[in-house]
Each structure stands twice: as C-alpha cells, then as structure tokens.
C-alpha cells in the first residue's frame, strides 16, 4: 500500500507481507500465505469427507451382497425350513421350564431325605479323606503277593481303625440327624476299613429313604412328569421331517455357492485370456477356465423335493399341535411349591400360543414361493430391523442390526443416566460454591479421568466393578432390586457405570463452561433483589446455562456411544436383544454393541465378504448416529441460547 516515504529500505516484514513487486511462481505471496492457512483449516473437513467416502465405498455394497445371500437362502429352500423350524425352538424353552417345575415340585417332598443322605455321604467322604494314608497302605499290603505275615496286617488294620475312630470322633455332625443317629454314624464310621465294600447300614437306610421318597414324589406328580415327557417327545416326528428337508436344502445351498465361486473364477480367467497377447499363455488360461466349468445347480428341480413335502409337513404340524394341546390340558394345576406352580401355569398358557404359532407357520408354507425375488426393501428391513446377528453359521448368516443397536442404546442410556447428575451437580458445585482451593483440586482431578486409557478402565470393570456388583447383588436386604441377584458379572450395567465415569469429564467441563458463560448481570440482578445464593443458582444461573448443559449431556452421549474398548471388555458380548420382559432388571444382562462388534470381528473376516461389508454398514450407521447426536447438541445450544441483549 503506502510506500514508506523514507529513502531507507523497508523492513523485511513489510517486504514479505506487502510488496507487490515480488511474486513466487507467478503468485502473489499474500495469496500463498492465505491458501496455506486456509488449507490447514480445511484439512479437518477434507478428512471427514474422505472418511465418509471410504465408509460408504466399503459398506454400500453390503445391500446387494446381502440381497444375493438372502435370495440363495430362499431359492435353496432354507427359508422354507425355517418357517417351521424357528417357531419349533419354542418347544425347548417350554419343556425346559417344565423340567425345572418338575424338579422344584419333587424337591418339596424329597428334599429332607435327600439332604440327610447327602450329608451322610459327605461325612463318609471326609472320613475317607482323613484316613487315606493308612487305608491305602493297608490296601496295598493286602494286594501284595506273597501275602504279608498276618501280624503285620493286623498292625496295619489296627492303625486304620485308630485313624477312623479318631476321624469320626473329630467330625461335626449336622443337626439333620438325631442324637441316636449321630452316635450310630460315628460308630459306623469308626468301623470303616478298605476291606469292607458294603455301605454302613445307616447310610444304606438313608439312601433307601431317599429313593422311596423320590419314587413317592414321582408317583404323586406322575401326571406332570408324563406331560413333560409327552410334550418333549411330540416334536420328534416333526423334527425328523424338518431335519431331512434342512439337510436337502443345505446341500442345494452348498452346491449353489460352490458353483458361483467356480463360475466367477472361470469368467475371470476367460477375461484374462481375452486380454492376454501371448498365445501359449492364452491357451493355458482358457484350458484352466474350462477345467473349472461345472453344471449350474438346477434349483427348480431341487426345490421340488422340498415343496412336495409341504402337505406332509402341514399334517405333522397339525398332529404336533394336537398332541401338545392335549399335554397342556392334562397339566396339573397344583404342582408343588409356588415357583413350580407359576412355571407350570406359564407353560400351560404358553402351549396354546405355541401351537397357534405353529399352525400359523404351517399356513404360511402355502404362500411361500421359492422364486419370489427378494426386494431391496426387504434387505434394508432385514438389516435395520433384523433381530439376529448370526455369523459363521453352517446354516445361514443373518446380519440383523437390532441386537447391537439395543445393546449400545441401553448401555449409553445407563451411562448418561448415571453421569448426568454426577457431572452437572459437580459442575454447579465447582462453579458456584467451591472455594478457589477446592476448584484447584476438583477441576484437574476430574479432567484427569479423561487421560485414563479406556483399556485400563475395562480391566477395572472386569476385575473390580463386576465382582463388586455381583457381591452387592447377593446382599439379602437388596433383593427387592429388580434383577438381583445377578447372573453375569459382565453386563450392560457394569459397562454403563464405566462409560458414565468416562463421560463425566466431558460433561463436567462443558457444563462448567456453560455456567461460567452465564452473564454476570443476571447474578447481579438476582443478588440485588435479595436472592440467596441457592436461589440465584437454581432460579437464574442453571436455567440460563441450561442450553450449554443439555448440549454437554448430548456430547457426553456421543462420546459414550462411540466408546469401544470398555464395552468390548465389559459388556459381556452376548449377541442377543436384551430380554426387556424381565423389566428394569434387564440392565444386568450381557449385550453386544455397535462399536464392540466392529472391533471384535473386523480383524477376523475376509476382506470384501458380506460379513466385512456388514461391519462397515454398522460403521456407517454408527457414524451417522454420532453426527446426529453432535448436530443435536449444536442445535440445542443454539435453540435455547438466550438472545443477547
């Protein structure tokens, strides 16, 4: 611009930044500097776009691939078998609860006899343990050839007797036995030697007692036992037909897949041959290609073997349904203890539903067409609403997204539910009530949590939190908590707790910033009206900072959903939709997550397979969720931002 009026040379800086005479590669250096700065600023945008493109490139092929797989599933008749096979699984669930009910019922009658028998045998085992050394030396001596002199044997025998007497005297006999019985037991135990193989008489009596009681119980609940056996046996003829069809269908599928592989290979060879210039090479390629030629599988013909059995299958289903309904009708209403009764009642109600489901499934067989094309919407639905994620299956792989999504969401929900109060309250305290010294302690400590590697947290979750939750869940006065006592140490609640811990620093810092940004003037006004500190905080500062706090919570949610290591280690990795019918206790079930599945499986699948693509598809969805959550956080911050006066 303005040239310095002094004759001296302008300083270097002005030459660099202002001179218009100098150009670098024909470009004004000012522009170069601008581009350099602008380029650095846009790197983030470029990388983000590249990530999106890469994810989409790998993942978008998933839909056609999965469509093709589902088509094979249908063409080969696997789908047909599953129509019947899937609802039939319910039989196992029902019969296993029946079995449990039976053992619970038998328990009520035979428990005391069994306890007495078991206690006596336990005592005998203890005696034997204590006298092992002496009795072993005796039995070795007895086996020796030529036999030892009787005097030595007698000495060993007396040693055994002494040891047994001492051991039997030192035992504590439980209250299950009366005084006379205890005495008799002690006497009999003292007489135990390896030479006598018969059980002591009292033990024999106890065992006989139990057998009698058990038999009595079984006769009493004979109808229940019989119903259970009938119910279980009812599937057999149906299952036999289904298994036969399944085997046939699977053969078809294997052949079809093999044909496809060979055919693709052959076409590739031919293509290479067409491009090849060297005639020898070309000839050998063509030869190789023709070697891998196979007959295509005649799907229409093979499916005949399956569809022709539809009528038979329907009849079998009807027969099965009638048998189990009959079994349900004879289920006794008074089956022992309360637990058993509820179980039996549940089963009695469950059987007609199951039978109905089977009949409905059988009715579907008619409308099923092997050559009906699989529409792309079906495929999208099968991915986004599919309830099973089954990979490396010998039958059929399914990539249903719901189990993973539900695991991720439940864990994130737990984590946010725990982390929100903790971090927001801590932020309010630190920002408004803490002294300077407290601030100096609290802020760095909370922010340090962020520096803990997540794998270390996962380790803590496995070794510490899991055991802690399990122990606590066994405290008798906490049994009213749904889900207690818990079955699995590694579960969604455990992962949620650790993720909450990880989300706290983010949410704390952002909430604290939000409170800090509340204009001083609001506080002045509230103070001048005579508000107490608490009133100012809860009526003015928190409401004014609520947008920032909400956005902090949402950003915490984004962090929690994207976290991988902790959930992989701690969530239990069971790929199933949590059983929400168990009520709030469902949070103590293990689950798998969107992030965890990618981390766990991506390293093991072959590149480009449908499984690989499915994982990328999961990645795309995860990416979309994160974007959405972040966008919401920004929108919330903007929406509730008070207009600046």
């Amino acid at each position: 611009m303005d040239r310095p009026t002094t004759p001296s040379r302008p300083p270097l800086r002005s030459v660099l930044l202002r001179s218009r005479k100098h150009t670098v590669l024909g470009v004004d250096p000012q522009h170069l500097i601008r581009w350099f700065f602008g380029g650095n600023a846009s790197i983030a945008v470029i990388v983000l776009v590249l990530i999106m493109i890469f994810l989409l490139r790998e993942g978008i092929d998933f839909l056609p691939t999965y469509r093709h797989e589902l088509q094979t599933y249908r063409r080969a008749g696997l789908e047909f078998c599953d129509i019947i096979d899937q609802p039939l699984q319910q039989n196992q669930t029902l019969s296993s609860s029946l079995r449990q009910a039976i053992s619970a019922s038998l328990e009520t009658l035979s428990k005391s006899a069994r306890d007495r028998r078991d206690a006596a045998f336990l005592l005998k085992r203890q005696i034997e343990d204590k006298t092992t050394r002496t009795s072993e030396s005796l039995s070795q001596a007895l086996e020796k050839t030529p036999p030892l002199p009787p005097a030595e044997l007698a000495k060993l025998r007396s040693e055994v007797q002494k040891a047994a007497a001492a051991a039997s005297a030192s035992l504590t006999y439980p209250d299950l036995f009366s005084a006379a019985e205890r005495e008799q037991l002690q006497r009999e135990f003292a007489a135990l030697t390896p030479e006598v193989t018969d059980l002591p008489p009292l033990l024999q009596t106890l065992a006989a007692d139990f057998t009698a009681k058990d038999r009595e119980a079984r006769t009493k609940f004979a109808s229940l036992v019989q119903a259970q056996e009938e119910f279980e046996a009812a599937t057999e003829p149906l299952q036999a037909v289904v298994d036969e069809l399944k085997q046939h269908a699977q053969e078809t599928k294997e052949n079809a897949v093999e044909f496809e592989v060979l055919e693709t290979n052959r076409l590739r060879l031919l293509e290479a041959a067409a491009k090849e210039k060297d005639p020898d090479e070309k000839a050998s390629l063509i030869k190789e290609a023709s070697a891998s030629f196979t007959e295509a599988v005649n799907l229409a013909e093979r499916i005949q073997a399956i569809t022709s059995r539809a009528t038979e299958l329907r009849e079998q289903v009807e027969k099965y349904a009638q048998v189990i309904e009959k079994a349900a009708a004879v289920l006794p209403t008074d089956a022992g203890t309360g637990v058993a009764r509820t179980m039996v009642n549940d089963v009695r109600e469950g059987i007609p539903v199951h039978a109905q489901a089977m009949r409905k499934a059988a009715a579907q067989l008619d409308s099923w067409r092997w050559d009906k094309p699989v529409s792309i919407f079906t495929v999208i639905g099968a991915f986004f609403f599919g309830t099973s994620w089954i990979t490396n299956s010998s039958w059929q792989d399914f990539f249903g997204f719901v189990p993973l999504l539900s695991g991720s969401l439940v864990i994130a929900f737990i984590a946010i539910l725990i982390a929100t109060p903790v971090s927001v309250v801590a932020a309010i305290y630190t920002n408004q009530f803490a002294s300077e010294r407290e601030k100096e302690l609290i802020k760095p400590v909370i922010e340090f949590i962020q520096a803990i590697p997540s794998v270390v947290l996962g380790f803590i979750g496995i070794s510490l939190v899991g055991n802690l939750i399990k122990d606590v869940s066994e405290w008798s006065w906490l049994q009213w908590v749904p889900g207690f006592p818990i079955q699995e140490r590694l579960n969604m609640f455990n992962a949620g707790c650790l993720l909450a811990f990880m989300a706290v620093p983010t949410m704390f810092s952002l909430s604290e910033d939000a409170l800090n940004n509340v204009p001083r003037a609001y506080i002045d006004a509230s103070d001048a009206l005579g508000a107490t500190k608490l009133q100012t905080v809860f009526r003015v500062i928190v409401p004014a900072g609520i947008s920032g706090i909400l956005s902090a919570i949402l950003l915490g949610l984004g962090r929690v959903i994207g976290e991988t290591m902790v959930v992989l280690l701690v969530a239990g990795n069971r790929i199933a939709i949590p059983d929400f019918s168990a009520g709030p206790g469902a949070i103590f079930q293990p689950a798998h997550t969107l992030t965890g599945i990618i981390a766990q499986e991506l390293g093991e699948v072959s590149r480009g397979s449908s499984h690989w693509q499915a994982l990328f598809m999961v990645g795309i969805v995860l990416f979309a969720i994160s974007l959405l959550v972040n966008w919401c956080a920004r929108a919330v911050a903007r929406r509730f931002e008070p207009h600046k006066a």
Partner: protein, 262 residues
C-alpha cells in the same frame, strides 16, 4: 426544640450515611462520607469517573459485600434508622427494602411475568393472585402495562433496550422497596428512552425514595431534588439540586459544573 418538632413532622431520612470510610483491600475508595437521603425525594450522585459514586450507591444495599476484601472501615450506614452492618440484619430483607437498577438493563432470560414476579417468588410468595396483582401494579408503575399486558409470557430479552430497562425498574419495585438505587440507568439508552425513564422516575418519586448515580448533569437537574457531588472519594458538596447547580458553595463544584475538568 424546634429541630425535634421538625423531625417529628417530617419522616426521618430513609438512608443515612455517617462518617463512612470504605476500602477495597488496602486502597481507600471513600473518605468520611456523610449523606442523608430524604423520604420520597430523588437524590442524585454526580462526579467525575472513578470518584466513588457507584461504590457509595452499592454501600447502601451492601452489593459491595460480594467483592472480597471490600469493606466499610469506619462509620455506619443506616436504612430506616437501622445500621445495615449489624449482625442481626438479614441481607435478603435489606435488599428487599433497597431495590437496585443497573447501568445496563439485565432482565433474566425468562418471560416478562416471571421477571417481575421473581423478587416476590424468592421471598416466598406463592399465591397466584397476589403475584398477578403485584406484576400488574409494578408494570403500571413502570409505565409498561399498556405496552406489554398482552404478551406477559414473551421472553423479556425480546424487548427493546428502553423497555428492558423499564422492566428492570418494574422488577425492582415489585417487592415494594423503601429505596430504589439506580446506577446510571440511562447511560446505555437512546434519548427517547432516556426521556421516558426520566418521566418515570419523577412519577416514581411520589411513592419511592430514589438514589440515582448519573454522569449527565442535565439529567440530575431535571429529575433530582438533592444532589451530592463526589470527587476522589470525598463528598464535596451535598445540597438541594437547584442550589448546587445555581449557587455552588465549593470552588471544586463550580469548576466541575463549568466543565473545567471531568
């Protein structure tokens, strides 16, 4: 005798400042201030920047308490005859008696209604009817009722600057304070809004005692009954406004009024 009878006839001064020294840490901000604010009168505090006008104003409702190390080191401040630094004084009650309006309008990011009702709510008023009445009365007194009665639930931050400042006045008078402190209430406003606020103040003076800090000497002349001139932390002159502006006793006052320094 005559002094006694006069005191009985007239209400006592609402605010009395006696021999007060005030310090921020080790630096003294106010020296030996003596001031009496008369009942239902407007008292203006004028003086050059940094002379301690605002500090003196904030001594009256102890807003200075919030600044660590700021304290009154000598003398006392009485509101309605009660020393406000006595240990039995409830700060929230004091501030209910002594309302304050700030330089920059600072309505809460809440509805107009909630802004006005805030003072009553924090002092425990829950009765909806009483709150409604108080809001209407305060808005009427602040000459806002006719403008805003149809949109009481609108966000206060959507109002214009002048309306916001009048809303702040309405908020301050909702608790029926004895004294209303105003810290340069018009300095951020345009002339028309300033005029409205000045009109409002002369109306309010019928029912409230007002202490106003102002930079604008014409404003002091227009609205105040008494004027105190402060310079470098000292109260140079305190007399009826007309007297101070037409016939100042002190040379310093005269020089300031003439604009020799500011």
């Amino acid at each position: 005798m005559s002094a006694d009878s006069a005191a009985k006839a007239k209400p006592p001064p609402v605010v009395q400042v006696r021999d007060m020294d005030f310090c921020y840490g080790t630096s003294k901000a106010l020296f030996d201030i003596n001031l009496e604010v008369k009942y239902h009168r407007v008292t203006a505090l004028i003086g050059p920047s940094g002379c301690g006008k605002s500090t003196l104003l904030r001594c009256i409702n102890r807003m200075n308490d919030r600044v660590p190390s700021a304290r009154v080191t000598k003398g006392e401040v009485l509101v309605k005859g009660k020393n406000i630094h006595d240990t039995d004084v409830d700060l929230t009650q004091l501030r209910k008696q002594v309302g304050m309006v700030f330089q920059k309008s600072n309505p809460f990011p809440k509805s107009i209604y909630e802004n006005v009702a805030y003072g009553l709510r924090i002092h425990g008023e829950k009765n909806k009817n009483l709150l409604d009445e108080a809001v209407e009365r305060s808005l009427r007194h602040a000459a806002l009722w006719d403008e805003l009665k149809d949109r009481l639930s609108a966000n206060a931050l959507a109002l214009s600057g002048g309306q916001q400042q009048r809303l702040c006045i309405a908020r301050a008078i909702a608790t029926l304070p004895d004294v209303l402190l105003m810290d340069e209430p018009c300095s951020a406003l345009d002339p028309i809004s300033t005029l409205k606020i000045e009109e409002l103040m002369s109306q309010l003076a019928r029912e409230y005692t007002i202490v106003i800090v102002t930079h604008n000497m014409q404003q002091a002349v227009r609205i105040s009954d008494f004027t105190a001139f402060l310079h470098l932390g000292k109260l140079v002159e305190f007399s009826p406004t007309e007297e101070l502006f037409t016939n100042p006793r002190e040379k310093l006052t005269e020089a300031y009024l003439r604009g020799t320094f500011s």
